[in-house]
């Protein structure tokens, strides 16, 4: 009665880990592209002092005689309204916006995932309480909340991080809660309960891994969104202040000169675009990698 494994048209039995990884990567160009690009951005952030031709320009240096110069051999991205090298500032900016985004999203996940899983798995009154609190926070538009808090908190990057995280975590809670509730209803969870597996084991080994996949994609898409929100707050004067080379701030500051000096806005703008794009690709690739079915069907 022994049955040999059938020859289904899928990847074979367990491959050694390295081989499986390599095969996964080869089958997943999105992941590779996104991963490389994101890694590049991180690298730039780390090496900015070495790469920037005018490191001082990322700080409070001003050069009144080369104000608003177009891109040239000396200043690849041109100079801004106080004569700072935009290229250097963009490079240094890689340390700021993405970092803020990462911290904000990390906080949102740290809060959102446990609350979402708890609400989805336990249901009942816990679910009600958590979801109502979530609804309250969802009702706040980030900018209005920021203005309100700006009245009491000092304007700084920390404030920005707190404000955005406060408005971001509810989305993740909702997302995870929906997934967790759906997973919790599946027969294999019932089977775990019937087998006497402890609820914590069920949550960490079954509910959590099966619920977070949509979050990974969402997070990567949100990197760009957070960066834009940061720049909106910076524009309102509530976040990073001049001379911090925050990309959003640079775009906001360069608005007034856009028609005559397009480079002041464009290069930081492209930086935001490329960064958001890179992390989105990475997220898509990760999602594919984490879905056992999809990767084998390629």
């Amino acid at each position: 009665m022994i049955e040999a494994p059938s020859t289904l048209p899928t990847a074979g039995a367990r491959l050694p880990r390295g081989q499986a990884l390599r095969r996964g990567l080869r089958a997943n160009p999105l992941l590779v592209a996104g991963g490389l690009l994101s890694a590049l951005i991180v690298l730039i952030a780390l090496l900015a002092p070495l790469l920037a031709p005018f490191p001082g320009d990322a700080g409070s240096a001003t050069h009144p005689f080369i104000v608003l110069r177009p891109p040239s051999a000396q200043h690849w991205f041109g100079t801004d309204n106080v004569g700072r090298d935009i290229y250097s500032r963009v490079l240094y900016g890689a340390r700021i916006s993405p970092l803020i985004a990462v911290i904000v999203l990390a906080i949102s996940c740290a809060v959102g995932i446990p609350l979402g899983v708890a609400a989805g798995y336990f249901g009942g009154w816990l679910d009600e309480v958590i979801m109502r609190v979530t609804d309250i926070f969802l009702a706040f538009p980030p900018l209005l909340l920021a203005l309100a808090l700006a009245a009491v908190l000092p304007t700084s990057i920390t404030t920005v991080i707190i404000v955005i995280a406060l408005t971001w975590w509810p989305w993740y809670t909702r997302l995870i809660r929906g997934q967790a509730a759906s997973v919790a209803g599946r027969p294999y969870i019932d089977s775990c309960r019937a087998l006497g597996i402890s609820r914590w084991r069920i949550i960490f080994r079954h509910i959590l891994p099966n619920s977070v996949t949509p979050l990974i994609v969402q997070v990567s898409l949100d990197v760009g969104g957070v960066i834009l929100t940061v720049s909106a707050l910076s524009f309102l004067g509530l976040g990073a202040q001049d001379p911090t080379p925050d990309w959003g701030l640079m775009v906001a500051e360069g608005q007034d000169y856009f028609l005559t000096s397009w480079w002041v806005v464009t290069f930081p703008g492209i930086a935001i675009l490329v960064t958001a794009f890179a992390f989105t690709l990475l997220g898509d690739g990760l999602r594919d990698l984490m879905d056992p079915k999809r990767i084998f069907l390629r």
Binding site: M1, A4, P5, P187, Y188, L195, F296
Partner: protein
């Protein structure tokens, strides 16, 4: 695979006093499924007198004196206003023994199975496993019960975690209950795979790489890992194709003998219970309408619904075919059951009495119970005014 012995009326149960060929003993663990005590590989104490008698083994085997493995009395389960299970009593002897629970959608059969393994709470009645009230179990006693009574679900597509490899899924309960040391769990999982008839190489695969029938067997292996004495099989053969069905049924028969298993076989297909269950209970809208030894129930039904169910099973054997009894209408809404006998709107034999008076479950012949005012006529083979089918 030899068919289970003693699947008839007071037939002889498994070989007396034999130590069954148990599953390979797990290393270094407390004894889990003790082999059946000699002479008790079968039926149980006489059912108590009185109105609500349980479906169970025949009274003449009372002399053996072993208590039933599982005794359900007056079980009621409610989901909001709906009475999914409304006063059901059953009895399962110590293994090897099979009780068939037959019914269609809305009959409450799956709910009963889930209540037995404590996945849903009972609103009324009692479930006793080896004499102890299941609902009252807590802590370590509950954990022990979870090992003794297991369930296999009907949906092979969702009964395994899609992110876990097969071997890990089977090892999980072993590790959680510390049945074997962690490093030996993988080996034990492979042994279990072999026991259910799958190549141990499957341990490295993911569920989506297996067919429905294979996944069903993995689910069985997972349930068996904790060495249960009672197995609830909820529609084990729906959703898989014919040859896989046959293999699953053969597997159940094999496990029954090898592990002295007692099982509750829940199905809508009467064709399955005849091979694997000594006793069968027929359910309709949360109540038992008929119960008794399977072969008798099938050959001489005492309830019109059983007759219709029996008649509805497609027969390949041309000689066995008979005119179809086609039941009009649909099963009623469980939230508002009809008055009197819940079956009367569709019953070809319904009288005025049936519309007002709920028939009690009463005895009609040795070990057989029926809830029908006109059971004697049905037993006598009265054919009904139902539309006989053409062809």
């Amino acid at each position: 695979m030899t068919p289970p012995e003693g699947a008839g009326a007071a037939g002889p149960p498994g070989p007396e006093g034999s130590v069954p060929a148990a599953a390979p003993a797990p290393e270094g663990t407390a004894p889990a499924a003790a082999p059946a005590p000699p002479g008790a590989a079968g039926p149980a104490t006489p059912a108590p007198q009185g109105a609500a008698r349980a479906v169970g083994p025949e009274p003449e085997d009372a002399a053996r004196g072993a208590p039933p493995l599982l005794e359900v009395t007056g079980l009621a389960v409610r989901f909001g206003p709906v009475r999914a299970v409304d006063g059901v009593s059953l009895r399962l002897a110590v293994g090897p023994f099979g009780l068939g629970l037959v019914g269609e959608s809305g009959s409450g059969k799956s709910t009963i199975g889930r209540a037995v393994v404590r996945l849903v709470a009972a609103a009324g009645g009692q479930i006793r496993f080896e004499g102890k009230d299941v609902a009252a179990l807590r802590g370590p006693a509950l954990k022990r019960y979870r090992r003794a009574a297991q369930i296999v679900f009907q949906d092979p597509d969702n009964s395994l975690d899609p992110r876990m490899r097969i071997g890990a899924s089977i090892s999980e309960p072993l590790i959680a209950h510390r049945i074997v040391a962690r490093r030996l769990a993988a080996l034990r999982a492979r042994e279990l795979l072999a026991e259910v008839g799958l190549d141990p190489e499957f341990a490295g695969r993911y569920p989506h790489q297996l067919s429905g029938g294979q996944r069903q067997r993995v689910a069985i292996a997972r349930a068996l890992s904790v060495q249960p004495r009672l197995l609830v099989l909820d529609e084990p053969t729906s959703a898989i194709d014919v040859k896989a069905q046959a293999r699953i049924l053969a597997l159940i028969g094999h496990l029954r003998a090898a592990r002295n298993l007692a099982y509750l076989l829940i199905t809508h297909n009467l064709g399955i219970v005849s091979e694997l269950c000594e006793q069968t209970a027929v359910l309709y809208l949360g109540r038992v309408v008929e119960s008794g030894p399977t072969s008798e129930l099938l050959s001489r039904p005492a309830h019109p619904y059983t007759q219709a169910l029996r008649s509805a099973v497609p027969e390949i054997d041309m000689a066995a075919r008979r005119a179809r009894l086609v039941l009009p209408g649909e099963p009623p809404d469980a939230a508002s059951p009809p008055p009197g006998c819940v079956f009367h709107p569709r019953c070809p034999l319904a009288t005025d009495r049936c519309a007002t008076e709920v028939p009690a479950l009463r005895e009609v012949g040795t070990g057989r119970q029926v809830a029908c005012h006109r059971a004697e006529e049905v037993l006598a083979g009265v054919r009904t005014g139902a539309r006989p089918a053409s062809g």
